[in-house]
Amino acid sequence: MTETLLSVRDLKVSYKVGRGTLDAVDGASFDVPRGSIVGLVGESGCGKTTVARALTRVIADNATISGGQLLFEGRDLAAISEREMNAMRWRDIAFIPQSAMNSLDPVYTVEYQLNEVLRKRGGLGRAQARKRCEELFEMVGIETNRLGDFPHQFSGGMRQRVAIALALALNPKLVIADEPVTALDVIVQRQILDQLRELQQQLGISVILVTHDISVVAYICDRTVVMYAGRVAEQGTMEATLTQPSHPYTMGLRNAFPDLQGAASGMLTPINGAPPNLALPPPGCRFAPRCPFAIDKCTTVSPETLEVAAGHGAACHRADEASKLRKLATRTETWMTTEMAEA
């Protein structure tokens, strides 16, 4: 196995809501090997974005990292001082946001915003910064004469490339991409993902790619971390998790998305119901209320992660029956019955 760059251990992030608290992330653990792309996938509200933001420690005013460790090259990001953390931001850990339109400052040119990180965070001189700007634009395939343009003068795909250039500016070790292609159309999505993959391999960096779209994971990720209701449901190599999913949620998720390649994968079957209210999570497995395979134990005992193969784990009581469940899960009726049972 390759060396681990980042190891998230039992991460817990709590939000203050009214008088109570809500654990948006409740004991998530996963690893990011050096030089790989890890897909963090799940429905909206599952805590994937919160995990991503917790890694930068720039989180909402009412949120706190209330437990666990974020071991980056062995250093616990959750424990270091704000000053030390700030020194690491963007130099070690950079971020590609979902909507580059809103995350680029509208009143400054793109060059100004690149210069800002290059000079203020990277300590480059004026001439060096200028050279680096051009280099970065060439890397992401934008003509350098557009450096002086304002964000609104770029198309959606171009802005996302600018965001990638910005993220790579200081040669970070880890890039967190939060839904980097969600707002784009499918063709542009592919171009951006291809570019991201190419640059990632060329520069040897690690990427955490946060997405709700399992086809994006299938397209470029090396590893998959499936999150559900603030916990990790399943993780492993991309091939293992997607061809041999061992958690019913992953099986359902796979049915619910079309292929990014455009190949028809038959009927899309949604998972019925909605994720649980995290202020009052159900006892036992959090997926149990929506799971077609739930047994009595699932509603009372919270499942531990079971290693189904080397480096492939699933937090499911019935993970050992996975191959049988997989067959059932490909049938649309299986997922209809939960709805019936619930109704």
């Binding site: 930068t56 720039v58 700030n86 020194a87 690491m88 931001r89 963007w90 130099r91 971020f95 946001p97 909507s99 809103n102 995350s103 680029l104 400052d105 509208p106 009143v107 040119t109 800002e116 990180v117 203020k120 965070r121 343009d149 304002f150 609104h152 003068q153």
Partner: protein, 325 residues
């Protein structure tokens, strides 16, 4: 190109507004009760003067012709003769305009400098005790009659402490080689201080509240969060990104505020005997000096309308989303 077109259409629109105000003024002064000639001719003028004015304004022509002559005269800057000063209204107004503009701009610059900084700071300290007490306090300054504030400041700083003169623009008997010499003299500043402070205290509320609420909006924007994730300093995040964006509408409001300020000037100039347009308007109306009243009102209206236009153009200039479309 499209923003040039927008600017042109806005200019046309305001030209229309100006024409409408001019026409309204014409009708008001013509339809006023009593002798319609009274709007231009003082009975104490000599026969020749009266005849000259009759001819100049076509006062014995039908109304529509008078209207055309009126518009033609306006275009040439001809506003008639002041009854009281026995001099052309236009000249009188042009000597007063600088005083009014100096008072307006100096007070607004103070008000905006303070309001912008304080507003940004209050947004930063959102929810703190200072913020909760400051906002009602600021609203209270907006509830003060400006002239009353002027009276209070005069009572304290002029009559009680004796730090500043009680009114006017220069010491009695003082003479200056030029207007420039007057405006740059230290005496002038001591005369300017209290009226400017009065207007500034009244005006700071607008930029302050505007800046604060814009800041609160901008602080929620993604690019501010991103600036933090980039590890930029607090100063850079708050000032370079949040405040810079929040400032845009505040800067445009400056031009609008000039228009509003001219109204406040009317009373504050009166309190401080400041020889400006507003005080002249009041005096002219009190003395039934109709040509002068009309001219002063028109000048104020022109500045208000012009400032509306400048506000629009300024916005287009300052916001790259518009200027670099």
């Amino acid at each position: 190109m499209s923003h040039l077109k927008a600017a042109a259409s806005r200019t046309l629109q305001l030209a229309f507004v100006l024409w409408a105000v001019v026409t309204m003024l014409f009708l008001m002064f013509r339809l006023m009760p009593g002798n319609p000639l009274a709007a231009y001719i003082d009975p104490t003028f000599t026969e020749e003067q009266q005849q000259a004015l009759m001819a100049q304004f076509g006062l014995n022509e039908p109304l529509w012709k008078q209207y055309l002559i009126y518009l033609g005269n306006l275009l040439q800057g001809e506003l008639g003769q002041s009854f009281r000063y026995r001099e052309p209204v236009a000249e009188r107004i042009m000597t007063l305009l600088p005083n009014t503009l100096i008072l307006t701009f100096s007070s607004l610059i103070i008000a905006y400098a303070f309001g912008i900084i304080a507003g940004a700071w209050l947004a930063w300290r959102r929810g703190a005790l200072v913020e909760k007490t400051a906002i009602p306090l600021v609203l209270t300054t907006r509830a003060m009659p400006e002239f009353w504030l002027g009276m209070v400041l005069l009572a304290i700083f002029s009559f009680w402490l004796g730090w500043f003169p009680a009114g006017g623009t220069r010491p009695a008997g003082a003479n200056y080689d030029s207007l420039f010499a007057l405006y740059t003299s230290s005496d002038f500043l001591t005369y300017l201080a209290l009226p400017a402070l009065t207007l500034a205290i009244y005006s700071q509320g607008l930029p302050l509240l505007l800046m604060r609420s814009n800041m609160l909006d901008v602080m929620k924007e993604d690019f501010v969060t991103m600036a933090r994730i980039k590890g930029l300093s607090n100063w850079t995040v708050v000032v370079r990104h949040a405040a810079r964006n929040a400032l845009l509408p505040v800067m445009t409001s400056f031009a609008i505020a000039v228009g509003y300020q001219l109204q406040g000037n009317v009373v504050v100039e009166t309190v401080f005997s400041w020889p400006g347009l507003g005080r002249e308007l009041v005096n002219a109306v009190s003395n039934s000096d109709y040509p002068l009243a009309q001219g002063a009102f028109l000048m104020i209206a022109v500045v208000v309308i012009l400032m509306n236009l400048i506000a629009d153009l300024l916005y287009a200039l300052l916001d790259p989303r518009v200027s670099h479309a």
